[in-house]
Structure formats: structure tokens, C-alpha cells
């Protein structure tokens, strides 16, 4: 019987246990996450700022950065729209095959990216389904930009939807139903009711999706063809430099990739902070719909 504080005791109540747990988290965090990041930074500059600058200024590295950012600029919006639409369809509507759709959305999560890359080879490769037809039409998908885009999009397709579906399921449909019964159109309902309720999860999904697109290695490495200055994304470029025994160059390029990720996270934090004032339980606090009858 533990009624002293009116609630059952929790693990962290004993100071010794609390300190141990916090300490463990800090140590693992430092060893697993912080240390490698610090090493990347230190190694990148181990031959001086000049060498770092030369690596980054090299046309191949610059192109790799450009390609990675360009891929993200296309893949992330596409997958955001797809993710929101899919989550909306799955959680706010009933239709036959709903569960099947959920399974489809999650497939890229469960299969290895390399399998995705090889699957694209079988579809668009010269030995594959459409390869010969595409070649005779002189359309290049594999070993060119479209292949990289497709592979990146495939791998990151579930990220936004996965963030949204559990939340939207928990939120239920009451608000949307109320809005509709008050006469709001589908768009109006979405933008005034659903979107404000999911925006933080959406933002988080977009950030994860972006990080993954930029970092994707496996699927892209199969369909890229590794042409320097043309189809080498930043992660592939890092591997190439590393294989060249150019460790410092590899670390310099890696630090740029890490930097891109950090920028994404900072953007997320800033956006969150901006919205923090209005954030307190938007689902219940926000005025629901001002739709006219």
C-alpha cells in the first residue's frame, strides 16, 4: 500500500537510482553520439582550415552537396504531401483496404534500402522490365538524377505518415465531424482543424524525412552509378574519399553532411519555439470552427 503522496512511487523517486539513470544516459549519449561528432569535427580540420576549404571547394564535393540538397528539396515536399494525404485518408476515413494501405505505407520501413535499390534495377535497369524501352527512347532513370530521386523518395516515404498516423488516430474524428456538420468544406476542415492539431508531429516527420533523405546511402548507392560530379551524393562522396585514403577529405565532407543535419534540427527548434506560446493543447484550446451555417 503506497498512499503517502497520493500516487504510486516511481522509479526515479529514489535519488540514487535517479542519479544512476541520468548518469548512464549522459555517458552513453556522450560515447555513442557526442564523441563521433566531435571526432568528425576535429579530424575535418586536422590538416588545417586551408585543406578543409580546399576539399569543400573542390567541384566534385560542391556538386555532391548540391545534389544532396536538391534531392532533399524535391523528395521532402513530395513525401510530406504524400504522408499527410495518406495519414488523413487512413485515420479520418473508412474504406475497404484501409489496413492494406497502412501496410503499403510501412513497407519501405521494413525492407532494407539496398533491396529497394536492387528492386529499382529490376524495374528500370537494362536487364529489367522497362530498361530497354527507356533506352530506346533515350530516357535515363537509373545512374542519373531521376533514379536517385526515386530511390530517396521510396526509402523516406513512410517518415511523415508514420509520425502522423498514431497521433491522428488518438485524436479521433470528433473535431472534423463537428466542423463538417457545421458546414466547413473538406479543405477548410483540413486547414483549420486537422492541420493545427498535427503541425508539431508533421514538423517532426519532415525533419526526420529530410535527415534521412540527405543521409541515405544504401538505395542510392545501387542506382547512382557513382559518377563523380554527376550522380555522387554527399554520403557516396564521403565513402569515395575514404576509400581513397583521403580520410581528412572524407571527414571534411562528413562534417558538411553533419552540418546540414544540424541546420535542420536548429530550424525545427526555432520553429517550435516560435509556436511554443500558442502551443498549449491546441486541440482543445483552439476555437473550433467559425463556419457559418
Amino acid at each position: 500500500m503506497h498512499h503517502a503522496t497520493g500516487r504510486p512511487p516511481r522509479v526515479g523517486d529514489a535519488p540514487a537510482i535517479r542519479r544512476t539513470l541520468i548518469g548512464l544516459v549522459l555517458i552513453t549519449g556522450a560515447l555513442l553520439i557526442l564523441a563521433p561528432l566531435v571526432v568528425i569535427g576535429v579530424q575535418a580540420f586536422s590538416m588545417g582550415v586551408g585543406y578543409f576549404g580546399a576539399t569543400i571547394a573542390h567541384p566534385d564535393t560542391r556538386h555532391a552537396i548540391f545534389l544532396t540538397v536538391a534531392t532533399a528539396l524535391i523528395a521532402v515536399p513530395v513525401n510530406t504531401i504524400f504522408g499527410v494525404a495518406a495519414a488523413w485518408a487512413v485515420t479520418k476515413h473508412d474504406f475497404r483496404g484501409r489496413r492494406f494501405l497502412i501496410v503499403i505505407i510501412e513497407i519501405p520501413f521494413s525492407i532494407s534500402p539496398i533491396v529497394a535499390g536492387v528492386a529499382y534495377l529490376f524495374v528500370y535497369g537494362l536487364q529489367g522490365l522497362f530498361g530497354p524501352a527507356l533506352q530506346s527512347a533515350d530516357i535515363r532513370i537509373l545512374f542519373a538524377l531521376p533514379g536517385i530521386m526515386l530511390a530517396s523518395m521510396f526509402v523516406t516515404a513512410p517518415f511523415v505518415a508514420r509520425e502522423l498516423i498514431p497521433l491522428m488516430q488518438a485524436q479521433g474524428r470528433d473535431l472534423e465531424e463537428a466542423a463538417t456538420s457545421l458546414g466547413a468544406s473538406g479543405w477548410r476542415t483540413f486547414f483549420s482543424v486537422t492541420l493545427p492539431n498535427i503541425k508539431w508531429a508533421l514538423l517532426y516527420g519532415v525533419v526526420l524525412c529530410n535527415a534521412r533523405v540527405m543521409g541515405e546511402f544504401g538505395a542510392v548507392s545501387v542506382v547512382s552509378g557513382n559518377i563523380r560530379g554527376q550522380t555522387n551524393t554527399l554520403p557516396l562522396h564521403i565513402e569515395l574519399l575514404y576509400h581513397d585514403y583521403n580520410s581528412v577529405g572524407a571527414f571534411a565532407a562528413a562534417s558538411i553532411l553533419a552540418l546540414l543535419a544540424v541546420v535542420t534540427i536548429i530550424a525545427k527548434v526555432l520553429l517550435e519555439r516560435q509556436g511554443a506560446g500558442r502551443r498549449s493543447r491546441p486541440a482543445l484550446a483552439a476555437p473550433i470552427v467559425e463556419a457559418k451555417p
Binding site: 536487364q127 533515350d138 545512374f143 557513382n226 559518377i227 569515395l240 581513397d244 583521403n246
Partner: protein, 333 residues
């Protein structure tokens, strides 16, 4: 509406039409994974030389990767006009798939291998264990590092070189030869999957007394990780490792790039091309240039896969096929 659609299709055909009519001004060279610096230097020299000879401005693009993967990518549509590989068998794969003509080895000198290398030794500074030749590798106090011959082409050369050495030393006594090779395997504390990982094991984890890899690699490693920390040791006998080149005929015909592709590969055999190869750690045949580099490349007697093992097909069948000699020796560990 219909007319608009037609106009659109016509425009698409017009602008999308393949520009085969004129000689293309770019070339894609699909190469092995660690050849970036070598071909960056080659391309920097080739482009002005070609301009001088023909007045044509060209660009050479590079794709680098494991050559089995590169060959595979070409059969799937990677439009490489030429391949510069480090494995003959991967060009054979392109031959089987109809991308390279069967007589490719007679198209360029030295069996279409402009430069060559051999499995060689890298030891720690001062060679504390006194490792000089293959028979030192079976000593109980020596730890040997090379990648897994099941997954690494590089390590297959090492395996075959050790095997060839033993065949001579034991005058063809198969049981003794295999015991010797197995004893080397027993001295390998970790089998990494690829050459780069084995280098990391040796250099960064400081495991092992000797790293075995291509001579060109040992030079690159010493340069990158400190010449004063490693010594290069050339064994008395080793296996010729060719770096074969070929025109990918099917792509070159499609793009009309045959002449340019030939000019590019020919360039590798010129004095200038040979000098660049030698500067990047490769051995060359060129009689004017080779003497300039003689002191960097100690004498070594080289045997070939053809002479000792009867060709790559036979090696594949007798040594590397599932359940063959390599499996038996490796499996006994």
C-alpha cells in the same frame, strides 16, 4: 486540344532526340574504387593532349566502385564508354553479356593491361619481425592481415600468390602446399570483408605484423598514414595482377564515342600516361619510362594465373567455387 497534345509530343521528340550525329565530347570511365587520384591525374593530362592532337575539347567523367558492381551497373545501363578495372574476370562478365568484344585483350598492348601490380607486404617500421618472404608468414609469432578471400578480389590475389609460392617451394606436393596456405590463414586474426577494412585493422587498430595487399596500395597507405611508420617489403616471387582496360563497345557504338574511347585508352600507354601510372604506385612496361622509376620498384619474379593455374576459369572452378580448395582450407579454421 488534340493539336496541342501533338505539338507537345513533337516538341518532346525533337528535344529528347538522341544527339548521335556528332562525335560526343564527353567520356565516362568506369573504374575501380581506389583509382580516383590516378585517373584524376590521367584525365588532367589527357584532355590537353587530346586537344592538341585533334583540336577537340573533351571532358572525362569518372565513376568509381568495386569492379564487380561496376560491371553489373554497366549491364543495367550505366553508360560507361571505357572500363579501367583491376579484375580480368569482371571484364569477362561484360563479354558474356555482350558489352565488350571477345578479343578485347588483343586490342591494346600487354593483354590490354597498361600497368600492373602484385601482392606485396607492408610491415611496421624497422620490420621488427624480420618478415621478408612468404615463408615468414607461417611462423607462429607472425600475425598476418588480409581481407577474406571469399569476398575480396584483392585477397584472392594474395591467396593465389601464396599458393603459387608454395607450389614452387614444395615442388607441386598438393598436400604440403595446402598445409602451408592453411597455416597462413591460421595466422590471420581477423578476416575483414574488403581491402579498406583490412587497412583499418592494420593501421588504426594496430593489429598484425604484416598487411598484404597490392604494391600500389602499400605505397598509398604508407604515404597517407606516415612513411616513417611502415616499411614496404617485396617478396621474392609474387603474382602478376593486371589492371585491364577495354572499350565498352555496346555503349561506344550507341553514343558514337568509339574513337574518343580508343584515344583515351591509347593515352594510358604513352610515355606521359605511363609516367602518371608509375607515380601512383603501379609498375609499367614502357621501356623509356620504367628506368626512371627503377629504384621505387625492387626486382621481383612474377608468375601469372595463366602459367601457374591455367587461367581464371580454371582458378574459379578449382579454387573459388563453392566447396573447392579455398572453402576447404578456409573452412578448416
Amino acid at each position: 486540344m488534340k493539336r496541342l497534345l501533338l505539338a507537345g509530343v513533337a516538341a518532346a521528340l525533337l528535344f529528347g532526340a538522341p544527339a548521335h550525329a556528332q562525335q560526343p565530347t564527353s567520356l565516362l570511365n568506369a573504374s575501380y574504387d581506389i583509382a580516383r587520384e590516378l585517373f584524376a591525374a590521367v584525365n588532367d593530362a589527357f584532355i590537353p593532349a587530346h586537344k592538341e592532337a585533334t583540336g577537340q575539347d573533351v571532358a572525362v567523367d569518372q565513376s568509381h566502385g568495386g569492379t564487380s558492381r561496376q560491371a553489373r551497373a554497366i549491364t543495367e545501363g550505366l553508360e560507361a564508354d571505357v572500363v579501367t578495372f583491376n579484375q580480368v574476370t569482371d571484364i569477362d562478365f561484360l563479354v558474356q553479356n555482350g558489352f565488350v568484344s571477345e578479343d578485347w585483350q588483343s586490342e591494346f598492348p600487354n593483354q590490354s593491361s597498361p600497368f600492373y601490380s602484385l601482392p606485396s607486404f607492408l610491415v611496421r617500421e624497422g620490420n621488427p619481425k624480420g618478415i621478408e618472404d612468404w615463408d615468414d608468414l607461417v611462423r607462429e609469432d607472425v600475425q598476418v592481415i588480409f581481407p577474406n578471400p571469399k569476398t575480396s578480389g584483392n585477397a584472392r590475389y594474395t591467396y593465389l600468390a601464396a599458393y603459387a609460392y608454395a607450389l614452387e617451394a614444395f615442388e607441386g606436393d598438393a598436400a604440403k602446399v595446402q598445409e602451408f596456405v592453411k597455416a597462413i590463414f591460421d595466422n590471420v586474426p581477423v578476416f575483414d570483408t574488403g581491402g579498406r577494412a583490412a587497412t583499418t585493422t592494420f593501421v588504426e587498430r594496430q593489429i598484425g605484423d604484416v598487411l598484404i595487399t597490392f604494391e600500389a596500395e602499400t605505397k598509398a597507405i604508407a604515404r597517407e598514414f606516415g612513411e616513417d611508420q611502415y616499411d614496404l617489403i617485396t617478396p621474392s616471387v609474387s603474382l602478376l595482377a593486371e589492371f585491364p582496360v577495354a572499350i565498352v563497345d555496346r555503349v561506344a557504338e550507341r553514343r558514337g564515342s568509339g574513337e574518343l574511347a580508343k584515344a583515351y585508352l591509347d593515352f594510358l600507354y604513352t610515355d606521359e600516361g605511363q609516367r602518371i601510372a608509375a607515380e601512383h604506385g603501379h609498375r609499367i612496361e614502357n621501356e623509356t619510362v620504367a628506368p626512371e622509376f627503377a629504384e621505387n620498384y625492387p626486382e621481383v619474379r612474377l608468375v601469372t594465373v595463366e602459367d601457374v593455374f591455367g587461367g581464371w576459369d580454371k582458378v574459379q572452378e578449382e579454387h573459388f567455387a563453392s566447396g573447392a580448395i579455398l572453402d576447404q582450407l578456409y573452412g578448416q579454421r
